[in-house]
Symmetry: C2
Subunit: 294 residues, 2 copies
Amino acid sequence: MGTLLKNYIETNQKVFHEELTKHVRQLDIPTSLKKSMLYSLEAGGKRLRPILLLASFEAYASNVEKTYRTASALEMIHTYSLIHDDLPAMDDDDYRRGLLTNHKVFGEATAILAGDALLTFSFEMITNDALLSNSEKVYLIQLLAQASGPTGMVAGQILDMEAENQTVTIEMLEKIHALKTGELLRFAVTAGAYLGNATKEQISYLQDFAHYLGLIFQVQDDILDVTGDEQKLGKAVGSDESNNKSTYPKLLGLDGAIEMKKHYIEKAKELLKKANADTSRLADLTDYFSERDH
Amino acid sequence: MGTLLKNYIETNQKVFHEELTKHVRQLDIPTSLKKSMLYSLEAGGKRLRPILLLASFEAYASNVEKTYRTASALEMIHTYSLIHDDLPAMDDDDYRRGLLTNHKVFGEATAILAGDALLTFSFEMITNDALLSNSEKVYLIQLLAQASGPTGMVAGQILDMEAENQTVTIEMLEKIHALKTGELLRFAVTAGAYLGNATKEQISYLQDFAHYLGLIFQVQDDILDVTGDEQKLGKAVGSDESNNKSTYPKLLGLDGAIEMKKHYIEKAKELLKKANADTSRLADLTDYFSERDH
């Protein structure tokens, strides 16, 4: 990763970490609920989604504060989904990013409620954004709910669960990931470009780009589960195999998965060129997504 | 209950049942997710919250369709909270309204996701309402998120859990119920009156009214858990006692709880008179809330 991109990512990780947690810290709510919400928000995610939103915005505009709350709302939704995903009734994970999962620290009931609270509060955050017009707020809330709710991420979770212990086609695998991971990435680029006043055509190319970025993200996730370093990942490898999950390496072999990733990267970069703006940072982020080791 | 009120309630139960389920039935989503969402939406609740919203609106205006989506969003949020509340990690209930609880039919993972989906979709529904302006949508979404999220219902759930196996004061019990039940009732009357173009002063009286209505609702719930009919309630009685929950009868005795209910009814009706509108239906609903046997 180049130094410029590294600085960009690290600087904005700090910005969003502060922005994300600030709003929750200010809430006058029961202590245990606040601790549980903050625990997962502070657990040191890569903040890829808010950074992607910001970079999409910066392809068209420069008053970056306009993205902060929407990007934080997006990261809160991502965080809630991880808390619920890790529950015993779902993936039953004890560790996430090298730390105990939320329910292992606070108990299942509080973890469920902290997830519900983050989901609900993310929409409230957008309504409170003094830098957005009412029509921008309504559009962003609609888009975020579509991306994360029953037609988006939640549908992906259901399909992913149902695909366990079954062999699925590569098309079905792509559909699951498009919903489970891709929809929030699509929201990130759409919201960023929309707030930056991109044209409909530009937004449309970026949405197609986000589709491939989601697939790159997922194929890399699957590859890391085979070849990754447990220390760097902060979680056990080989869990896809033991959970009998359909993955790219399983369907295509490890070499086939790496080839598929290259294909996705080419498609993603072609679409960026068509988006007719300064998308060099988005191209750099694409490389970063595809090469990440955790 | 008078025939007029009975007709009003039954007619509008049908209206909201249809309205609520229609939007979910139209979604293009995985079958198991849709079935799980519809199962709980169709489980025959009393629809008290949407009816309260409607009656508050009708104290000031008459174009009732303006309330339908917001009232449905409110009932969806109530329904999601019941699904998550019933989970083994929370209250661990097998029956609700005489039917198996969501997770007993669809499994815990699907129940968690169906709750998440209903919560998220409720906000989307408001953004899609063709009868509301953008500023109305933003205000209602903000109000609903505040009432249901970490500062509202979710806080109430946390405090309620923490109060188990402890003796709490009557003030603490009122605080828990004000958050857990009261906030959604407060949203119902506030949203209804706001959409009916009530003045700020009128809305303020109705909000205070909703506070007492919530307490009436809860004291009656507690009384029914002692004196109620399991057939009518569709759930076991005596569960508060066996779960060692703080209740009005436990803190004040059964007679004391009934006295307290009378006091709350008086306060509620005083406030309705001050709201300076045709609140006769809200007064009737107060009696209905206080006399309900299920």
